[in-house]
Symmetry: C4
Subunit: 277 residues, 4 copies
């Protein structure tokens, strides 16, 4: 369950004004640091909600300008913050190419690009990812631990899930081609890609109903596909659940041979037989 | 697996008429108490069904008055019962601010408010929660224990589920924004909130079909989202299932051989036969 | 994992023609018995398929008479078989009131009633349950064992599932009432029962789309309901999965105290400490 | 967890040009073998994508000829490859009747048949199965192992799933007949097969919405069916999950203390420290 985390303490400048800024911008132990973080969180949330609400036609018509100025203002603050972070950190590359650093960068760039290419405007929604800072701000160590637990369980079961998805994709394409032939290009099954879309909608049990079989034979095949999907849905669940269980066990390290795969109820190391204390 | 339950015996008045009323109203050991409880249950069910059926246009037209009078009558009984409960209990605050006390209060208040603000009428459906008394009435100790088991398992896994939902929300908003850009505001994706609604409908595999992608690129993204949702649905199941298992067993450690896999009702270690203290 | 099964050997008549008929009708060890069983199975399947296909308008118009005669003929055979079973069995009540006996009875009665009340015609589909005889016919002991395993696991987890459904029903009715108020009786939410129907369709992730929220507030509530449903769906899975695991373990009976709840890897009885051989 | 795999080494010809071709066509250890395999993979993917995209009406109109020639060309290569494989292998029948051999054959035949019967054209999509060679090409031993793990877990739980599906089918047909009678042949429930289709769509939580109940009684039955389906969906998950767990561990029994919970890679008993032989 090891997840590599960059220790932030290597990044702290020794002293001077840079250290003071660092404490405000990066840490949240001082009063100023806490206030800074909370203001940041409010700005992130405001900015995300604005970007979303702004697209509602009726609101855009009325408040277009106001929204634009607020966004402009928030992006300016984020930009200032980004440069502050770069200035006050000890090892710049370490921050800039860290996941959080990349997210910080991506949360300001789209706005500036959108000045020239308006389509880029909505890419700014990526700044929502900054919400993940919430864990640091409120010192949610327990939550962070659980988050890592979930990510780790998913990562360990990813190989099985990839294979499962490969089987699924092959199955889905074949079913899609079959339905295209059976329905004869009608009832929305106008091409194989379209039929494949239908097959995915069906097997994942989403079932929009924008395409649904019209011929008796198509319905019979659908029934088979649905019952298959119903049984197959158990597979990813089984994979992840059994991984969750495995993760749960706290393995004990043997002092002599260093084997770290002993069960938590082991009294003797299973590799070298040493008594475990 | 500890769920704090208010012991009801602290609330029993020592003697006199209040004790007699208490026995009828709160307990169901006497014949009068049982009859009282069953009448109450019938009134709760009648009242809930009435409130629901009353909204069917064709029925409202014909039986509006009759329904109103029955509801009025039942609410009066509930009100009387509420005051009886307050009067005969020893520690009033203990009852009034207990979950059941609050439900009892909320089941009568909406009716009186609705005399002035008709919209509040349907808030009365909250009285349905009183059905939970069914466990006490029929002395369903086993069922109650299982209910607590489920609640406890959910509570213990709630932190992991919150984090999972946070990841989901971020994923959903980004997918929503992406679909809004891809579909260009058409096919029902008229704004980002609307697209987010679509993303939730899709990932949870509900799939109403009131909004569904129209462009080829939108359909391809949908396919990816659906297959993701299909794999991700395994996560809450994995979380809850592994919690259910953990809840199930309280293992006891043997002092001699250290085997910690003894059931919680074991009297001798199953591996070495040592008596368990 | 005890499922009470009626031993069929108490029902065998000692000798004479009744015993011979018994061997053909009830058992499938002789050649005649096997042929009888297979013919029966074919008739059951034919009859079920006919009843289904018969309802397709285009087929009913053309083959109404033919279908009627075949069904009449099959029902006559089933009737004859039913009386044969009654005649040749030793303890008649034992057969008549056994599950299989009741199914046999229910598979012929609807046809005769339908002569007078045509609506009863389709109740005959119940004869499909006779397919369950397939296990006996092909001596599918392993399959039967697995079937009992599933039934037993469901029965053991039924109490938890009932409670879960009770919670669900309360949640669903409250959500339904809320949506009725929010949508103001429009967009298909014409009454609370209708809204409750929508809530069930949504939480179970079926999502027909015949009713879907139209107002922004309704959509926001839907999002919350769907995400809840997504997390809650894990509960029945967790219940059944952990029951499946528990069932799997083969408990060992102690020779001294008779405790039958020892784990299959126990070396000493956990209740009395006796060594298990 | 034994899955019978044909050892490919029995098929290698001892020496000469056949051995050289064998190394290129079957193995991927030499440089030529690797290049051959990667070209093959690209051709398989191209061919599959072409077959799918070709069915989009707008593309077919414009590029029909080009697509035809490319497919013709790729099929020729596949045919040449197929004969090469037959020529250079030691035991021809071994290859021809192996799963991969049959897939190779099926991936070329439909094209030739389609020259006379155009409908067969799309059966060619079966060549997609050749993607499974990807495991060999990239030497994905870990992935292959996980793939076998999934297949093995499904195979071991297949018997339980068959029985579960049998129960489901009986339940579905009875519900279908019931809905046909209740809805009186209206609202899309025009025949029992149609109603059965609806029942499958509902219980598997796909929920297209092309058929949905219109009468109050039909909606009430739907609610019951959906809540049942919601609880029942847990069964295949429970079956597969508990099988996944069982597959995971091969426990070893300690000869001294009898602890049978040692991992399959243990060398000393984790409880008593005894060496495991």
């Amino acid at each position: 369950m090891k997840v590599k985390i960059k220790s932030e303490f290597d990044l702290i400048p020794e002293e001077g004004w840079r250290r003071k800024i660092y404490e405000v911008v990066y840490l949240s132990e001082t009063r100023a640091g806490k206030i800074f973080d909370i203001i940041l969180l409010i700005l992130i949330l405001t900015s995300t909600v604005l970007l979303m609400v702004e697209t509602i036609p009726i609101i855009r018509l009325q408040y277009h300008k106001e929204f634009y100025y607020i966004e402009f203002f928030i992006t300016l603050i984020f930009t200032a913050e980004y440069f502050l972070r770069i200035i006050c950190v000890k090892d710049r590359d370490e921050y800039i190419f860290s996941p959080l650093g990349i997210i910080d960068f991506l949360s300001i760039v789209p706005f500036y690009i959108s000045l020239f290419f308006p389509v880029w405007h909505f890419v700014g929604i990526i700044r929502m990812l900054r919400i993940l800072r919430i864990f640091r701000i409120f010192n949610l160590a327990d939550y962070m631990h659980d988050g890592k637990f979930i990510v780790s369980a998913l990562r360990h079961s990813s190989r099985k899930i990839y294979i499962f998805l490969l089987f699924m994709v092959i199955f889905i394409v074949i079913i899609g081609a079959l339905m295209y032939v059976i329905e004869g290009g009608k009832n929305g099954f106008s091409s194989i890609p379209q039929s494949v879309y239908w097959a995915v909608v069906t097997i994942t049990t989403v079932g929009y109903g924008d395409i649904s079989p019209g011929t008796p034979l198509g319905k019979i095949l659908s029934i088979v596909v649905m019952l298959c999907g119903y049984s197959i849905i158990a597979v990813p669940t089984g994979i992840v659940t059994s991984e969750f269980r495995r993760q749960r066990k706290n393995h004990i390290v043997c002092n002599r041979c260093g084997n770290d795969d002993n069960d938590d109820n082991a009294r003797y190391c299973k590799i070298c037989g040493e008594k475990i204390i």
